[in-house]
Amino acid sequence: MNNALQINDVSRRYGSIAALTDFSLDLPTGQITALVGPDGAGKTTLMRLICNLIDMDKGEILIGGRNMSDRFDEIKPELGYMPQVFSLYPDLSVEENLRFYAGIFDVYGEAFEKRAEELYRFSNLKPFRGRRAQALSGGMKQKLALSCALMHDPKFLFLDEPTTGVDPLSRRQFWEILLNLRNEGVTILVSTPYMDEVARADRACFIFGGKKLAEGTPDELRHLFEGRLYYLDVEPASTLVEKLNNIEGITARRFGAGLHLSIDRDDDIEHYRAGIERLGLDFNAINPIEADLEDCFIQLMERLS
């Protein structure tokens, strides 16, 4: 596998807080890697380190085999970064924002016009080119921020929670754009709290407390779930959850309008028939289900904490 970007044993502290500890991750060329972790896990620190916005305490980052710290001036034009906080000028128009970011990367004149057209084509922002950035909807703002990060045609794209607070349709459109960029060979690292987005990525890395919990393709990660999972279609009253949890060997938690039960992998749900039926529940209403990425992520996190 050709790894475009290698993060080797990187650590970074802020005073007494260890934001990242001995963290390693490889980003394969032309793939989307999703970065998933709770608030404070170290996601933003990682993005900032890669973009050389802050210094690392130890470790190294190689981009196309080149050491990032030593040869940053050469590497910088290849990187595009979209920070979590809306980074555009609210009182400049869509086009003025594009022009401003183009100027930073020395994209002028005809080159600008050509690139702006390309970016409008995928963002569908052309009809709104004269509108001030602050008057755009949430989804459009994020598309504009992405366009600005892409102005200089970077080979690597780092996106820090670009779709948080964005509605499902706009999120879907945003990801269509990311998938197109990926197909054109751009290497992408994107952090997200949405597991459906993780499922669309090529690879994902779970991060917690500044350390890597797990990484792999979405399918590989799904299979890390230990145990068997069942859905019980019943009103999830708190007293019922408590009673089920009192049965040795069963873990019960609310899930939507019903309950999730989990047992050990080598166990059999039949063992619990009597206990479950004693609570007045219909044993036939219990159906085995596949663990999803979120179940897996939560289990990995709980095992650590």
Partner: protein
């Protein structure tokens, strides 16, 4: 009356722009109601009318037993409100924030203290009560904001994207708290962009360009649109209506 929200033909215009277009809605006491829609569909404007913060151009109704037009001040003492954006004073501690909001709701010091301790225990906030919200992860901040919105024992709470940017573990715990509240009879009126959370709601409505275009139980809507899940159902529905509503 057993309904927490009962509004008929609510409309709100801003100049030529109709932000909310003739919506009618009934939410039962103790229900968890998901109020969904694309960005810019009019959800926040509708919620502001239900909370007595904005007068409708036309239409009427009752929230928490109060007339939304004639008793808009009284509504505020009977509801709780929390949003992803508005929140607590970042440089007051959690405890100070609760004292401040308790006083703003006209509660006595003794009442505030009692209720604060009760909510802190229930939402497991004991360890963070003396920290400033700015120093806390979003998940904890949101839980603290929920506690503040519950101080004055509201009959109904309006939560505007309460879990935006919150990680899955915290989101599940947050929803577990919402279920407990609903079991006790508190009505939960919530907006979210997470479709897995929307599936947790008893009923949902979907807004598009100011109108409520669907209303029902999540699984019934999924079945009606023959979709594999709510996310696909939502996208298909909004897409078939021309996508995001641009104000132009």
């Amino acid at each position: 009356m057993n309904n927490a929200v009962e509004v008929v033909n609510l409309t709100r215009r801003f100049g030529d722009f109709t932000a909310v277009d003739n919506i009618s809605l009934t939410v039962a006491k103790g229900e968890i109601f998901g109020f969904l829609g694309a960005n810019g569909a009019g959800k926040t404007t509708a919620i502001r009318m239900l909370c007595g913060l904005l007068m409708p151009t036309s239409g009427n109704g009752r929230v928490a037993g109060c007339d939304i037009i004639k008793e808009s001040e009284r509504i505020k003492s009977r509801i709780g409100y929390m949003s992803q954006k508005f929140s607590l004073y970042g440089d007051l501690t959690g405890r100070e924030n609760m004292d401040f909001y308790g006083a703003a709701y006209g509660m006595s010091r003794k009442e505030v203290k009692q209720r604060r301790d009760e909510l802190a225990a229930r939402l497991h906030l004991e360890d963070i009560l003396d920290r400033q919200p700015v120093s806390l992860p979003i998940g904890w901040r949101q839980r603290l904001a929920l506690a503040v919105s519950l101080l004055h024992r509201p009959e109904i709470i309006f939560l505007d994207e309460p879990t935006g940017g919150v990680d899955p573990v915290f989101r599940r715990k947050f929803w577990s708290i919402l279920y407990d509240l609903a079991e006790e009879g508190v009505t939960v009126f919530v907006t979210t962009h997470y479709m897995d959370e929307a599936e947790y709601c008893g009923r949902i409505s979907i807004m598009h360009c100011g109108k409520i275009v669907e209303l029902g139980k999540p699984f019934d809507l999924i079945a009606k649109y023959k979709a594999p899940n709510l996310e696909t159902m939502f996208i298909d529905l909004i897409d078939s209506r021309g996508g995001e509503c641009a104000k132009d």
